[in-house]
Amino acid sequence: MNVLSPEDWQAHSGKFIALWTDAVYAYALYQPAELVVTPLVEGAYPALPHKGAAWFQRLAHDTNGHTAIGAADTRPAIEHFCAPDGTAPWPEFSRPAGEGIHQVAVGPVHAAIIEPGHFRFSLRGEEVLKLEARLGYSHKGTLALIRGKSPRLAARFAARISGDATVAHSIAFAHAAEAALGITPPERAVYLRAIMAEMERLANHGSDIGAIAGDAGFSFLDARFAWYRESICSAARVAFGHRLMMDMVIPGGVAGDILSGGMAAILSSLQALENEIPGLTRVFEDYASLQDRLVGTGIVPPELAQAYAAGGFTGRASGQNHDARVTPGYAPYENFGIDVPVEEDGDVAARIRIRLEEIIESIRLIRDMLANLPETAIGIALPTGSGTALGVAESFRGPVWHWLNIDSGTITDVFIADASTLQWPLLEFAATTAILADFPLINKSINASYSGVDL
């Protein structure tokens, strides 16, 4: 463990990913997988200057009571009942200076079928001057529930950090548990995990792209992409017994082998999707009224994406080439090679183009993996050991990181960082590059998780 003095801790440079605390140390994680710590002094540690650190410092205060000395942003993160009398008052939402500025409040109950969160827009006319997102509404106390359980039991919580990325979170959790206990899962399990993760990516990319088109009034694309998500989820059910493949990835391997008929179901859903993708892409590119809504809307500038070390398609649409499947990389992707698409425009259209390219790449990966599925066992028993380790997996949104401290077979401490944590501030910025009516498109094009950051 790399223990730093408070000065070195603050001066440490690199692409910041996450920060958390346990009873003794504050931890900071940098790309590709560099972990540095500094001892807590009376429950406090020096605040980090990195842009992405703010949410993590607020979270550490709310969950562990640890203070970041010198932090500029000390608003509660997930603790809404913060008044001295135990009530949950509305916070002050600051508004930019100037005349004729009004605020619009949206949520936590949204118009569409989505997770809860509150958005406070400061507007001049239709122009968005500032967006402040208030999160924490779906805080379920997941980290506290994981402590004191065995990795096998706790995997159920990891699978429910964010339901749309359940496979990726389960893989990251399994990676951490396996590294801490010093075991390697059998090859077949590793392949099946990757197949499930790529199917999850296909399902989410498809339905999000359709939903963005739907919000722009283009329901044909919405209907077609929803149909493809449905065919992939149905194939997942045939192959793995669950439409979202929840609880299928467990520490030590996978919970079950691919079922009979599963391979055929997956291949036929991929074929149907592959056949229609060129046509649907053409519709996206050819309709001027659709392009008018998407091009130049909700821009995340490359400098900002870099400052937040944004991952996933949000980062890749803004010049960042990070993909956890490549760096630090994990099995079995080194056997297949991944083409990581990168663009510079950073608008809604660029994020859609990146996701369309990732769909084609995922189809290729699933086919290659199914064709080369090793004939080994699908899991091994976990030893009752001790250890501390990090695990990572690339969800459809970007990298998800799990950190576990296991003592004699029981998890004593845990932290989970979803890619969304570094993407919410980008959404807040991107909203200010457009008018209020474009916000649903921008929000869906980034699709940050609420549950994944509320924990």
Binding site: Y137, S138, G163, E230
Partner: protein, 181 residues
């Protein structure tokens, strides 16, 4: 391409309509009769509130609106406003941070209101049962009329569960009285 699609549709048969589970309908009918609730008719608007879910239930709720499940064909539709909603559909663990919002959504709805809990979390907290951050299950906030269990329930299970609401309300063919002057 279009001709091929047309020809295929011409010779194919439509899928059989989904039906509600008879036992669920009977239980619900008794519950509604005991409560003496006013009848809502067969076209119901649903207001969904996520009260601390993992987003799994939301994905499958959205899927009920796609081409395959097409919830709207049964007269059930999601509405953005609670003001003209008949059903309050709750997903998630009943997170403490969502209690006020759920109650406000209920108060904004005109009576009578049917409350439906979708997903294991909304039934009793699911795997999160016992967490200090939740009150555990939709019925810890409001009395619940119907539960649709599953983690998450499949779109087919959600559609069939909601159809039970319609069936329970349906007390036979309606006679329209003609008034002559």
């Amino acid at each position: 391409m279009v001709w091929k699609t047309l020809a295929r549709h011409f010779i194919s048969r439509p899928a059989a309509p989904r039906t509600a589970d008879a036992a669920a309908v009977a239980a619900l009918r008794k519950r509604l009769a005991d409560a003496g609730d006013a009848k809502l008719g067969r076209s119901l608007a649903i207001r969904h509130v996520a009260a601390g879910s993992c987003n799994g239930c939301e994905l499958e709720l959205r899927a009920t609106q796609n081409l395959i499940y097409d919830l709207t064909q049964y007269g059930l539709s999601f509405t953005p406003s609670p003001r003209h909603a008949d059903i309050l559909l709750i997903t998630g663990v009943a997170a403490r941070n969502m209690l006020v919002a759920v109650r406000q959504a209920r108060e904004a709805m005109p009576d009578p209101v049917l409350v439906v809990a979708v997903g294991d979390c909304a039934v009793d907290g699911g795997v999160f049962k016992g967490s200090a951050a939740i009150t555990g299950g939709a019925d810890s906030i409001l009395p619940v009329d119907l539960v649709i269990a599953g983690c998450p329930p499949t779109p087919a299970q959600i559609v069939e569960g909601l159809l039970a609401l319609l069936e329970a309300h349906d007390t036979g063919p309606r006679r329209v009285k003609r008034v002559r002057e």
